[in-house]
């Protein structure tokens, strides 16, 4: 498959990068792009997001895909849609973001446990590895 990146900038406000060769579904890539910008304060509370149809045309993705991303972002509390006015960044909820991150970490830990069981790797080795990598990060 060809490697394609679609890059799009909304006046300095919103950035979206989508890779067609990624195994992450496109709606999730859109979500991740927006969530990380909210978390990094690149998108601020009450800032207007492009309409679903506008964004779909600009990143050359189907309307339903963008809608799915927006629907989930709204369900998770990142954005709010106001009837007839558009979609806006919701007040930031750090607790929610932390919960989300914890869930993600759990999944990774699961994978580590499964892999280490499969190849009979000692738990201590994994903790050691963790300490080493963390140490490197602090340097």
């Amino acid at each position: 498959m060809l490697y394609t990146v679609i890059y799009c900038v909304y006046g300095d406000v919103m950035k979206i990068i989508i890779s067609n060769s990624s195994s992450i579904p496109i709606y999730e890539q859109i979500k991740n792009n927006i969530v990380s910008q909210i978390m990094n304060n690149e998108l601020l509370e009450d800032e207007a997001l492009p309409s679903i149809r506008n964004l779909a045309q600009d990143i050359k993705i189907s309307i339903m895909t963008v809608k799915k991303a927006y629907d989930e972002l709204e369900k998770e509390g990142y954005i709010i849609s106001r009837q007839g006015k558009g979609t806006f960044v919701a007040p930031k909820n750090n607790e929610l973001a932390k919960e989300q991150a914890q869930k993600e970490i759990e999944e990774y830990v699961f994978k580590i446990i499964n892999l280490s069981k499969k190849f009979n790797i000692d738990q201590r080795d994994i903790f050691n590895l963790f300490d080493i990598l963390r140490g490197e990060e602090n340097d």
Binding site: P25, I26, R53, A56, Q57, K60, S62, I63, M64, T65
Partner: protein, 286 residues
């Protein structure tokens, strides 16, 4: 109204033995719907049936909630059409077409028509006879759009276009559906055109409707499970739709990717493109 087009129990047989149907499906308003299938699968027959160019044997069709025959004249004001074969006489020039279409459609917009010709670099004074294949296609697209339709029915609108023009045309289609009342039904065998922008995929094979599905559902749930020749029996029948034997491996078409990934951890499970899906469904064994 949530559907631009509603088709119930449509069937059409030809003397040569080809039969389309029975087909029942809805084309939801405000979206881009892709129609795929092999040459001769019945895509054009379906499109011409909707347009009442072909008389169907059974079934009924509603467009914008109205019976497609009783209200044909009203309905056709709001439909823009691109058919696989050019329908204009060869000796007309592009500005002749403006005059003719102006007489046919109440909403014909000459300015919009010439804007499109300009955008597509089409020479106004030239006769249709002297246009290249790509130019003819662009002319048809301009004509389809220039009377402000609500529904575009396009049979192979991108065939014969170079990649740059194709992407321009796809952008025009996406721009068209910025209006939530606008709908596009779009047949093509260049499935990559639909991979990105289509919301639903309708797949016809040998006159039968084999798939009518949200494109994201296809992308998220369908896939190919690959295994070696020796492992064929390790895949249970209930887990795949069809399979295809290759020289060194088997490809199984699956429609429950996340469940299958958990069950068959040692096998490769790939995402599937619309093209691969089409090939597997047509060529695969049950």
């Amino acid at each position: 109204m949530i559907n631009a087009v509603e088709i119930k129990n449509l069937s059409k047989s030809y003397n040569n033995g080809f039969k389309l149907g029975e087909i029942s499906l809805n084309i939801p308003k405000g979206l881009i719907i892709g129609l795929i299938g092999e040459n001769g699968a019945g895509k054009t027959t379906l499109i011409k049936s909707i347009l009442n160019i072909i008389k169907i044997d059974t079934g009924n069709i509603k467009i914008f909630d109205k019976d497609y025959i009783n209200y044909e004249n009203i309905i056709k004001e709001d439909i823009g059409v691109v058919l696989d074969n050019m329908f204009f006489p060869e000796l007309l020039t592009l500005s002749d077409i403006d005059k003719i279409m102006g007489d046919i459609f109440k909403n014909w917009d000459s300015k919009l028509y010439f804007d499109f010709l300009n955008k597509f670099n089409l020479p106004i004074k030239r006769t249709i006879k002297n246009l290249s294949k790509g130019m003819r296609k662009k002319l048809e697209i301009a004509t389809a759009l220039a009377h402000h339709p609500k529904l575009l029915i396009l049979d192979e609108p991108t065939s014969g276009l170079d990649p740059i023009t194709r992407s321009e045309v796809l952008d025009i289609f996406q721009n068209f559906v910025q209006d939530e009342e606008h709908t596009i039904l779009f047949s093509t065998h260049i499935t990559s055109d639909l991979e990105h922008i289509a919301d639903y995929i309708i797949f016809i094979d040998q006159g039968k409707l084999v798939l009518n599905e949200n494109k994201d559902t296809i992308v998220d749930n369908y896939g190919i499970l690959k295994c070696d020749i020796d492992d064929f029996n390790k895949v249970s029948r209930e887990d795949y739709l069809v399979y295809k034997k290759n020289k060194y491996s088997y490809d199984f078409l699956i429609n429950n990717k996340s469940k299958i990934k958990k069950k068959y951890r040692d096998f490769v499970i790939d995402n599937i493109s619309l093209e691969e899906l089409m090939i597997l469904m047509i060529k695969g064994d049950k």
